[in-house]
Symmetry: C2
Subunit: 135 residues, 2 copies
């Protein structure tokens, strides 16, 4: 994969050149959505190498910030994410991939299908925010 450096704002927003804007740590955020029902599964990060591997292999590769290493999603769990499409947002600092999930169809390391399994609620009297299981 060959990508160019970001150009002007108009080029970034309206151009046909893919110029991902990695942050100071060399990472770009990537949202993974289930191609089947559109559910948001997870959000993780890619560096240039994992992005290139994702585009080359058609499977999602991330950069694990906690482990500090390339992360072939599903390599051990079988929950490989086969990329159906990859989109980029207006300012090219966020990716959105739609994926078909292998294995048991799950995504989260806690065993849930996706990572967003808790809802934030705020008690209007106390102002205290707490979490409830979303489903």
């Amino acid at each position: 994969m060959t990508v160019s450096a970001p150009g002007s704002r108009t080029e970034i927003e309206e151009g046909a050149a893919f110029t991902p804007r990695f942050d100071a740590q060399g990472l770009i955020a990537c949202i993974a959505v289930d191609a089947g029902d559109g559910r948001v599964l997870m959000m993780a990060h890619m560096n240039a190498e994992s992005l290139a591997l994702t585009l080359k292999t058609g499977q999602a590769w991330y950069w694990s910030r906690s482990r500090g290493e390339l992360w072939h999603k599903g390599a051990t769990s079988g929950q490989v994410q086969t990329v159906v499409s990859m989109r980029v947002d207006c300012d090219q600092d966020t990716l959105l991939i739609t994926v078909n999930v292998g294995g048991d169809g799950g995504c989260c390391h806690t065993g849930r299908r996706d990572c967003f399994y808790r809802t934030v609620s705020v008690d209007p009297r106390t102002g205290l925010a707490s979490l409830e299981t979303a489903r």
Copy 2:
């Protein structure tokens, strides 16, 4: 809104305490999804103040990294995002809000309904990645 500092990994992943993990810049990523059809609209960031305002007012407030200021989404465009639900992911470093969008129902500053209007494609012969209008 009152939140606590993050605890152990088990508390973060399985507990009922909302302990958002802001990054070194004091920000947490927030994905906004249309409550009507589940489409991913945008990804932006919140700091503690904008998160508190979001929970207090029921409308999405972000932190604009480019402008370095609080950003009441839709304050000028009318595209206010009324929050239907807020979820947090397993390690509490990403938020997911479902929203009803005011005004013309759009979200992106370029005039599109959402920010992910271009698909990344790679020419298998040249390895060159380019963008196509997604829809």
